[in-house]
């Protein structure tokens, strides 16, 4: 039986990355969907950037910001003695950034699909803004948010470049499945490579099928 440690690490990294991407993605999506403000289009473009940039370039930016000598990294190291470089938390950071745009874009579309009339009706019926968000906007956008979350999870699971730059490829510590496949092929260990590839493929196909189902339901449903 091949060593499946990289797989568990991948799931853990993808889980926390998706969680972080969800919180920030939903917040920024709501902001850009509901308000018109100066620089909104620029903010949207900036937040979508990770979708189109090479992951290694993203990884490099992350090092510049979060590295031990980086803008935020040096502060983190000086005050808490912490560094994200070459840790699994660093891998979470990298996976968060690469998966963020998928969540942000889906969430923004989902929020924009909620007719303003429903929110106005809720206000007239006695809701404050927080209640409008949790009782109307969020439930009506739920399918789109869920679909975006699943896409983000799939993307977070599969990241190679950004994770390699930030967290490296340390066996048993930061070596995710994508990197284990690379190493296995390099070393000619095709049993391990085939096992990992098969599992990753099945998980990703399952996620995409479920995402499509959600999207179709959203279109035809109530």
């Amino acid at each position: 039986m091949p060593d499946l440690t990289p797989l568990w690490l991948t799931l853990r990294v993808a889980f926390f990355a998706t969680l972080l991407a969800f919180v920030f993605g939903v917040a920024f999506a709501w902001l850009t969907a509901r308000f018109t403000f100066w620089g909104r289009d620029f903010l949207d473009a900036f937040l979508t950037l990770p979708l189109v940039m090479p992951p290694t370039v993203l990884g490099y930016y992350l090092i510049v910001v979060w590295g031990r000598n980086g803008w935020l990294g040096s502060w983190l190291y000086a005050h808490f003695g912490l560094s994200l470089m070459f840790t699994w938390q660093g891998a979470v950071l990298a996976a968060t950034v690469v998966s963020f745009p998928l969540l942000f874009k889906s969430a923004r579309a989902a929020f924009e699909g909620v007719a303003a009339e429903y929110e106005q009706a809720a206000r007239i019926l006695g809701d404050n803004e927080l209640q409008v968000f949790f009782r109307i906007t969020l439930p009506l956008a739920a399918r789109g948010l869920l679909a975006g979350t699943m896409l983000a999870f799939a993307r977070a699971m599969g990241d190679f470049g950004a994770t390699l730059m930030v967290a490296g490829n340390i066996e048993g510590k930061t070596q995710t499945a994508a990197m284990a496949v690379f190493d296995a092929v390099q070393a000619g260990d095709y049993t391990l490579a085939n096992t990992l590839v098969a599992i990753m493929s099945v998980v990703c196909i399952t996620i995409l099928v479920m995402t499509n189902k959600l999207a179709n339901k959203g279109r035809g449903g109530r």
Partner: protein, 263 residues
């Protein structure tokens, strides 16, 4: 019930600019705001409901100021005690009929209604004859059913005034007539004053105790049914509102005045 509106609001969309400067008041319990689309009538009731904020002016309902720019009063929509019927009803698609109607009663974070609230919802559903729809979702309802549900939802908190945005435009003509009569009956039952926005002269006949005519963001004319009691002379309100509907004025007028004489 006295409704007083005197507001100014400018809207920009791209190069276009729309200026609303509306001033009118009504003492009647049936008020119609009549005008073509784009005349500013929708914007005006949105301002009364607190969905848009005017730049200047004052809105009072029954002597209570909902908005007063000079005194810095601008009650949020949730505190205005105003009922509002949206043109396509805005029933929440993720909630059942019962949950939609109970929505205004459940403003906290608890997940189910309190027993006394459940009873209230059941009672209002019975009075609107929609009890059998309690577990249905809005997408499963017909136009007339949707309107009843929306009215029940708007009335459950006993608003001081009910605003209706083109209430019958989504219905076919047979149903339209029936729902007009139902709405008059609801007005009687709840004693709630109605403000109806419309571009349909037939609505004016039924609901226009006070008629406010809008054009290009301004009030063109205000008239009261008492003044247009003699429609035959050709200078009355009916000729202005619908010159081509003269032929049916007899029957409709009979209807309208019969309704007006009930109160």
């Amino acid at each position: 019930m006295r409704l007083e509106v005197d507001i100014k609001k400018t809207l920009h969309s791209g190069e276009r600019r729309f200026e609303l400067a509306a001033a009118f008041s009504s003492r009647d319990d049936l008020t119609v705001i009549f005008g073509a689309s784009g005349s500013g009538k929708s914007l005006t009731i949105q301002a009364i409901a607190g969905l848009v904020t005017p730049e200047q002016g004052r809105i009072t309902v029954g002597g209570e100021a909902l908005f007063d720019e000079q005194h810095g009063i601008n009650l949020p929509a949730r505190k205005r005690g105003v009922g509002y019927l949206f043109q396509d009803y805005a029933l929440f698609p993720h909630l059942t009929v019962r949950e939609n109607i109970g929505y205004p009663l459940k403003n906290g974070w608890h997940f189910s209604l309190f027993p006394e609230d459940r009873a209230e919802v059941a009672e209002i559903m019975a009075s609107f004859e929609i009890s059998h729809l309690a577990a249905s979702y809005p997408a499963e309802l017909s136009g007339g059913q949707k309107q009843r549900v929306a009215l029940a939802r708007a009335m459950i908190k006993k608003p001081a005034i009910l605003l209706l945005d083109e209430p019958f435009s989504a219905l076919d003509s047979m149903l339209r007539h029936r729902m007009r009569m139902e709405l008059l009956e609801i007005r009687q039952r709840f004693g709630v004053p109605l403000v109806v926005i419309t571009h349909d002269p037939a609505d004016v006949e039924v609901f226009g105790d006070t008629l406010v005519v809008f054009a290009n963001g301004k009030v063109e004319e205000i008239s009261s049914r008492k003044e247009f009691a003699a429609p035959e002379d050709g200078s009355g309100w009916r000729t202005k509102v619908c010159p081509r509907a003269q032929w049916k004025k007899g029957s409709l007028a009979a209807h309208g005045f019969a309704m007006a004489s009930v109160d």
